[in-house]
């Protein structure tokens, strides 16, 4: 089963190492394969190095895609993490 959603990066530092690590930690909980896309670059949602090369800074719109038995739950929770600024204050 495939599922995807778009979300805007709103934390000040964007997809930096600490934020990406929080994202990957969540992504690893799901069986589905997870991809994140920024314009024409796509990266493995379970790889820190991969996600960092997306260079998603503040204001970038990204698309989170999942394929597998828990894809909907995965995408929804990952979107929430981005919207919550990865737990950061700004």
């Amino acid at each position: 089963m495939q599922f995807s959603k778009k979300v805007k990066v709103i934390n000040k530092l964007g997809f930096h190492l600490r934020a990406v690590a929080v994202f990957v930690k969540e992504a690893e909980k799901y069986k589905s394969t997870i991809k994140v896309r920024n314009n024409d670059i796509e990266a493995d949602g379970k790889s820190i190095m991969g996600l960092m090369t997306l260079i998603a800074s503040e204001g970038t719109e990204i698309e989170i895609k999942a394929e597998g038995p828990d894809s909907k739950e995965a995408v929804n929770n990952l979107v929430k993490i981005v919207q919550n600024k990865f737990g950061e204050e700004e």
């Binding site: 530092l13 964007g14 600490r18 690590a21 929080v22 930690k25 790889s47 190095m49 991969g50």
Partner: protein, 579 residues
């Protein structure tokens, strides 16, 4: 053949042990590997060590600052099993059959290329996060190498970009045949250590680390400043022959051991040893030094995670002084700052460290550290002949302040009925031009003077002795330096004090001749040079040396002085050199 700067004499022949370079250079060093599995195994071990390091740092940070700041370390931990990082690195190792360092370098480079495209300043700044992690892994890989090297039996020649005091403190000195470094000058730390250990060294050898690999056969020609990598059989034989001659000459010198250090007209010049480690006492006794003229205590503080306790220091000083019997041991209090620092005692970064908080200045603003050392020294003084010496005195008040602290601790020990030498002598290092100009005043309060020529030359000529581009200006025989030495000697003698020279200058027989003529009473040097200088002292007349020194003080530059000294010495020694 590579040309460098002569740092420590002698000839060494042996296999290379390459000490790691800066991580950015290591990452560019491409090697073809024989076994992908071995390389992956090394990577695994380094990752495991890095993981432990990070967990430790994380716990410390959380404890010190709070859990929020520890978060970045969770990210590091995740990266250590990240497919995009570990997987990618392993892939490069496997596909290109290259070493881990190079593979990591590729991964880092790809990653940084992405970051260079970013305009967002915040995100761009974060690229450093990953570089920091990779640096740590590299460090752990080299440690893995080091462990492998430790298993190598036999002795080796260390080749490195530069050796810090911490590096040399960590070395197994019984296995080192010699040093070759890319950086450094005659007075840099590597050179001093090499001379102390009586092993040959050549420093300032450009690009040597890129031109050798572990196990290459290399010759150090410490007298001429050459390094020969993988020599031909002919060259090797020549050097083996020279090495034999060198050892023979040493044997001849050893005959001087029991003889007194006196000029032919009976002027006694005490010849003392400079030491850094208690382990060097063997060499001090072997060369029959009259005492220890300079015990550099900073090496008790370097290469550890915390300050040495009073008890630890006391035991070291006690061991040294007991082994020296009744001979005097001059202990210089902590001299850090400048190019020496302690990992656990951070000094705020300074624009000009050599003009900053170093030596006695540092002790006087960190009285608790200073007091521990003074207490340890005083307690050890009950077991032999100890003198205390303060480094880098710049004004008289500094000396008085430091001396007052010693007096306070003496009173405290007396109250507690702890034994110590109540008449312990306290002296000053003369290594800053200002204190030479004020030496007549200082002499009223000090018990002795000791000229530290390395720093005196550096501060008089305003030249950084570690900076190769200006090292030429660093000139022992500059008339300005010699005039200051003469002035300090006159102040000392006017006030009935003895004055010593404890820099590396004292070890050069030609310069020692001049120093004797200038009136210096004692010379302190690396123990390996003592017999050589004694040979000189026994073959000259004090009266001749005085005349030569008087003539030298009228000369304009060091070239003229050098030629004159060589000429005079050659004539004096002509045909009459004997033991």
């Amino acid at each position: 053949m590579f040309k460098g700067i002569v740092a420590s004499p002698g000839i060494a022949i042996g296999p290379v042990m390459l000490l790691t370079k800066k991580s950015e250079e290591i990452l560019k060093n491409k090697r073809t590997i024989l076994s992908v599995e071995d390389e992956k195994e090394k990577f695994k071990i380094a990752l495991e060590k890095t993981k432990n390091d990070i967990i430790n740092i994380k716990e410390k940070i959380i404890y010190d600052i709070g859990s929020k700041e520890g978060d970045i370390f969770n990210a590091y931990l995740q990266l250590l099993h990240d497919p995009g990082f570990v997987g990618k690195t392993e892939q490069i190792i496997r596909e290109q059959k290259v070493n881990i360092e190079f593979a990591l370098g590729q991964v880092l480079q790809n990653y940084l290329e992405f970051f260079n495209k970013i305009s967002d300043p915040y995100l761009k700044e974060r690229s450093r996060d990953i570089s920091g992690l990779i640096e740590r892994i590299i460090k752990n890989i080299s440690e893995t190498h080091a462990i492998e090297q430790k298993k190598v039996s036999g002795k080796f020649i260390i080749v490195a970009e530069d050796l810090t005091p911490t590096d040399t403190a960590e070395l197994d000195k019984t296995k080192v045949l010699g040093f070759i470094t890319e950086k450094g000058t005659q007075t840099s730390h590597t050179a001093i250590v090499a001379r102390a250990l009586e092993i040959p060294a050549v420093v300032g050898v450009k690009d040597i680390t890129s031109n050798v690999k572990n196990g290459d056969l290399v010759i150090i020609d410490g007298d001429r400043g050459f390094a020969v990598v993988n020599p031909s059989q002919k060259v090797l034989n020549t050097y083996k022959e020279e090495q034999k001659k060198y050892l023979l000459k040493n044997k001849v010198l050893k005959k001087l051991k029991k003889l007194e250090s006196k000029t032919q007209d009976n002027r006694k010049i005490e010849l003392n040893a400079n030491i850094e480690f208690a382990e060097e006492i063997g060499s001090v006794l072997e060369n029959n030094a009259d005492g220890i003229g300079l015990f550099r205590t900073e090496f008790i503080y370097i290469n550890r995670a915390n300050l040495p306790t009073e008890e630890e220091q006391f035991n070291i000083y006690k061991t040294v002084v007991q082994k020296m019997g009744k001979k005097p041991v001059t202990i210089r209090t902590l001299d850090i700052g400048g190019d020496k620092y302690l990992p656990y005692f951070k000094i705020p970064p300074e624009q000009n460290p050599f003009l900053g908080l170093r030596a006695i200045r540092l002790s006087l603003v960190n009285i608790s550290i200073f007091s521990v050392q003074i207490r340890a020294i005083l307690r050890a003084s009950a077991f032999g002949n100890i003198k205390i010496m303060f480094p880098m005195i710049t004004v008289v008040e500094e000396f008085l302040e430091a001396k007052k602290i010693v007096e306070e601790i003496k009173a405290e020990l007396k109250k507690k009925k702890v034994n110590f030498d109540e008449n312990i002598k306290i002296g000053a290092m003369i290594e800053v031009p200002s204190i030479v100009l004020l030496s007549d005043e200082l002499a009223k309060y000090a018990d002795f003077f000791s000229i530290g020529t390395n720093d005196l030359v550096q501060y008089t000529l305003a030249v950084d002795r570690g900076n190769e581009t200006v090292a030429k200006l660093y000139d022992n025989l500059n008339p300005a330096v010699l005039k200051l030495i003469k002035m300090a000697v006159e102040s000392a003698h006017k006030n009935n004090l003895k004055i010593s020279v404890c820099g590396e200058m004292a070890a050069d027989p030609v310069i020692a001749f001049l120093l004797v003529g200038l009136g210096v009473d004692e010379l302190s040097m690396n123990s390996a040079s003592i017999l050589n200088v004694k040979g000189l002292i026994r073959n000259i007349k004090f009266q001749d040396a005085i005349e030569v020194a008087d003539a030298v003080l009228k000369m304009k530059n060091s070239v003229e002085i050098k030629n004159f000294l060589f000429e005079k010495l050659k004539n004096k020694l002509k045909g009459k050199e004997k033991l």
